[in-house]
């Protein structure tokens, strides 16, 4: 019988974290420097990692372990947000940082990696548990998976897991090809497809809000919900990523993954348990219930946009075509708005409006659930009693929940005014919330895949998006069709107006 740790105290201790060696491919890249290492250091600072935890960075640049530690120290100091840097904690953490130089496409890298893993495992007692993290260009995912497979690194004494960053393919067939290659080496349960949106506190709080309370779920259906708006707006442009972005676009870059996952979380059926597969089964079922549009429906229920130049706050802002690296005739959607319908009993006929865009007036991500009006308007219009009830779940920048309802104005007469009841996540719970990177990294080490995307979910969302993208690819758009700093093309407003709705201006 295996021995259990008798010192656990689940009421007071954080979750149990097993020993682990994390291998980061692309260790010299931006993601590692800006996000991964600061998140790992922060976890060490909070005593969330096991003592022997180790990190092995791999990239092409020749460097010693000490040089890598020095470089990562600079990155952590620079990119550590809302946290102090402690030299002693860093010194202890840095002892577990290792580096090896190598070309991902070089077959000799992988046997050398196997030898290095063994060496580190013995020194740090990581028990054979290895988490591979692909922090590279997506084009390198398949060569890495093949290399790991050829060196038999997909199996070992402890557990093996692989974390893959989005995009998971650029359409359904490429997503399936990537998945097949990963499955040649790892079981699906060992593949962790990371979606940073799902790690955000408010997205997780949607589950708590819906399934931890008894009062909202009875309203959560076609009888009471008029429509749902999900907005992910960015005020910035492509910021030097023009060459990459012109191949992706907003529909692929945001809606296919982040926003459809958020929509699935909002609309899914209650899960029987809070076990990873149980929650993911429900998300997956919801994604498979989204109606795949026919070509004529795509023209009615989707809007592609691209920003043009504008002057904002006294400053000239370039249009997408003027951004460095972008082809002058690029037909890339920097804005996408889609009307989705979910074909199930709960949501039949309720529009889900999703929009995402760059160079919109502000950076905001939120979900707005608009409820049906009261069945009988007993207060006259002068009384102001017509504003709909809205439940707003803000994901960023300030995570929180607001409920808007009507209330009588104080004083004589029956005049109503909308009021807002707010719950602000950051201020209501004063402690610093862990970042999405911290949450998701820890989940992968612990083996909790609840917030990770499963292959059937990826395929279901590509099936929905491919139908739209296919029509868009064959359409010659008259871009640009919205000025930077505005809320997108007029056609997006018209799309909602056809059903008697209007976009919120968050």
């Amino acid at each position: 019988m295996s021995l259990e740790n008798p010192f656990q105290d689940p009421l007071r201790f954080e979750r149990r974290v097993p020993e682990c060696l994390m291998v980061i491919f692309g260790a010299n890249g931006d993601l590692t420097k800006r996000k991964l290492l600061p998140a790992l250091y922060r976890l060490a600072y909070e005593r969330r990692l096991s003592a022997g935890c180790a990190v092995l960075g791999i990239s092409r640049t020749p460097m010693s372990d000490d040089q890598f530690r020095g470089k990562m120290c600079e990155s952590v100091r620079e990119f550590l947000e809302d946290s102090p840097f402690d030299q002693d904690v860093w010194a202890a953490f840095a002892q577990g940082l290792f580096y090896m130089a190598g070309d991902i496409k070089d077959a000799a890298l992988y046997p050398a990696l196997a030898a290095r893993l063994q060496e580190i495992e013995q020194a740090r007692h990581t028990g054979g548990n290895v988490l591979f993290y692909l922090s590279t260009q997506p084009s390198q995912y398949i060569p890495i998976a093949q290399g790991l497979g050829s060196a038999k690194l997909g199996k070992g004494e402890g557990w093996r897991r692989i974390v893959v960053e989005k995009p998971f393919g650029h359409d359904l067939s490429s997503a399936q090809e990537l998945s097949d290659e990963l499955h040649n080496v790892f079981r699906e349960s060992e593949v962790y497809r990371i979606d940073h949106y799902l790690g955000k506190e408010t997205v997780q709080n949607i589950l708590a809000f819906r399934f931890g309370n008894g009062i909202f779920e009875p309203l959560w259906n076609r009888r009471y919900v008029n429509h749902v708006q999900i907005t992910a707006a960015e005020s910035i442009g492509v910021e030097g990523r023009g060459a990459y972005y012109q191949e992706a676009g907003s529909l692929r870059d945001m809606i296919q993954n982040h926003l459809l996952q958020v929509m699935a979380t909002i609309a899914m059926e209650p899960s029987a348990t809070f076990r990873p597969n149980s929650v993911r089964d429900e998300r997956s079922k919801l994604l498979r219930s989204i109606r795949v549009m026919k070509p004529d429906e795509v023209l009615e229920d989707s809007v592609a946009g691209q920003y043009g130049p504008a002057r904002i706050g006294g400053e000239d802002v370039p249009g997408f075509h003027q951004e460095p690296g972008v082809k002058p005739d690029a037909q890339t959607d920097t804005y996408a708005a889609i009307t989705f319908f979910v074909d199930n009993w709960r949501w039949a006929g309720v529009p889900f409006y999703l929009r995402s865009g760059k160079r919109l007036p502000k950076r905001v991500t939120e979900i707005a659930i608009q409820f049906n009006a009261a069945p009988l308007a007993i207060f006259n219009d002068e009384g102001g009693g017509t504003a709909p009830n809205l439940l707003i779940l803000r994901i960023q920048p300030e995570e929180g929940i607001s409920l808007k309802f009507l209330s009588k104005r104080p004083g004589a007469g029956m005049k109503l005014r909308p009021v807002s009841m707010d719950f602000n996540y950051g201020s209501s719970f004063g402690e610093r919330s862990p970042t999405a990177d911290e949450i998701l990294l820890l989940d992968a080490i612990i083996g909790d895949a609840t917030l990770y995307t499963r292959q059937d979910m990826v395929e279901a969302s590509w099936a929905v998006v491919d139908a739209i993208q296919h029509v868009w690819d064959q359409t010659k758009f008259d871009f640009p069709n919205y000025a930077a700093g505005t809320w997108g093309p007029a056609a997006a407003d018209e799309m909602l107006a056809r059903r008697g709705h209007a976009w919120r201006k968050p």
Binding site: L3, P6, R12, A51, G52, D88, D422, S428, E431
Partner: protein, 334 residues
């Protein structure tokens, strides 16, 4: 008010307070009231009111409450007085204020029997009442149980009691009588305990655990503090679960009177090196030696606010604490 106070009057003053806060917020985004419990603090007159106020204010954003601070004066007259005010804060970059109510009651020792009837109607309906008794002297007053009976949980600090063994025994008896308790001294050990537990999440270290035959705990001060008894009882309890019967030593590491732990060593039978050794260094960090590795973790002395925050995050009773308190009391008096 002087002499007596009326709960109705206090509630009325609180209603007026919200009206005036609402008027101040008019034209802006308004004022939001937040409350998750009634938090009663019983303090001596000599307790620094500013420090208590700062603790309450720091707790509010995460655990908004109706706070009732009772300050006891050592007078014979049965006098009570009260004032009502709000603790408000504006979350960063928000226009809206969030406010909690605070009631400050000044009471004489002689009026203690009258207090429960005042505090009970002031408790927010349907939410828990937690009483933090900052003074062992107050806890030992004969009429204190009348006040503590209104609380679902009583928070004490055994470190403040003069005789650690007697304190543990007394608290253990209260626990046995059905009273839900929390001890700030136990909460101060959470980080130490978590460090130890994390070590044994590693399977190779866990495999070494049955080799532990002796526990050595060193502490400041000449007398073993409650923290040392708690730690010994908790470690022994854990080791007993895997069939071990370890011996233990509590050693004084210096005359400083803080009662803090200085080190914990888990030792094998044969007198070889410690299997695990944790040592407080530079007052705020722990140096952990295990399996040939040395690493450091921050272990700062936590403020009352941080300790209460941890306790408030536990909704019900804490079986591990209760079990350990009973065992620690037995060890300390044996």
């Amino acid at each position: 008010m002087a002499g007596t106070i009326s709960p109705d009057q206090i509630l009325h003053e609180m209603a007026d307070l919200w009206v005036s806060l609402g008027k101040q917020g008019e034209g802006e985004a308004g004022v939001l009231r937040a409350c998750s419990m009634t938090f009663v603090v019983a303090a001596e007159e000599s307790d620094d009111p500013q420090a208590i106020g700062e603790t309450l204010a720091a707790l509010m954003p995460e655990h908004p409450s109706r706070a009732i601070l009772i300050r006891f004066q050592a007078e014979d007259q049965r006098e009570l007085s009260a004032r009502v005010f709000a603790q408000c804060w504006k979350p960063f970059s928000q226009r809206q204020q969030i406010c909690c109510e605070q009631i400050e009651i000044t009471a004489s020792e002689a009026s203690l029997p009258d207090l429960a009837a005042v505090v009970l109607p002031l408790a927010v309906p349907d939410l828990p009442v937690i009483l933090w008794c900052r003074s062992p002297r107050l806890y030992h007053l004969q009429t204190f149980p009348q006040l503590s009976a209104i609380a679902q949980k009583l928070v004490l600090d055994s470190e403040a009691f003069g005789d650690p063994g007697a304190a543990l025994k007394e608290m253990s008896a209260a626990l046995a009588s059905g009273r839900a308790l929390a001890d700030l001294t136990w909460i101060r050990l959470t980080r130490w305990r978590e460090l130890i537990s994390q070590i044994f999440e590693n399977r190779s270290q866990l495999a070494d655990l049955p080799r532990v035959a002796r526990i050595r705990i060193s502490h400041c001060g000449g007398v073993a503090p409650a923290a040392a008894w708690y730690m010994a009882a908790w470690l022994i309890g854990g080791l007993q679960q895997i069939g071990s019967r370890p011996q233990f030593n509590l050693e004084s590491a210096g005359d400083e009177a803080s009662g803090e732990l200085q080190s914990v060593d888990l030792l094998p039978q044969d007198g070889a090196d410690a299997i695990v050794s944790i040592r407080l260094v530079e007052g705020h960090a722990a140096e952990v030696r295990v399996g040939g590795l040395v690493h450091r973790a921050l272990l700062p002395r936590l403020t009352d606010c941080a300790l209460l925050r941890e306790e408030f995050s536990i909704a019900g009773r804490d079986p591990i604490f209760e079990r350990t308190l009973a065992a620690a009391a037995k060890l300390a008096v044996s």
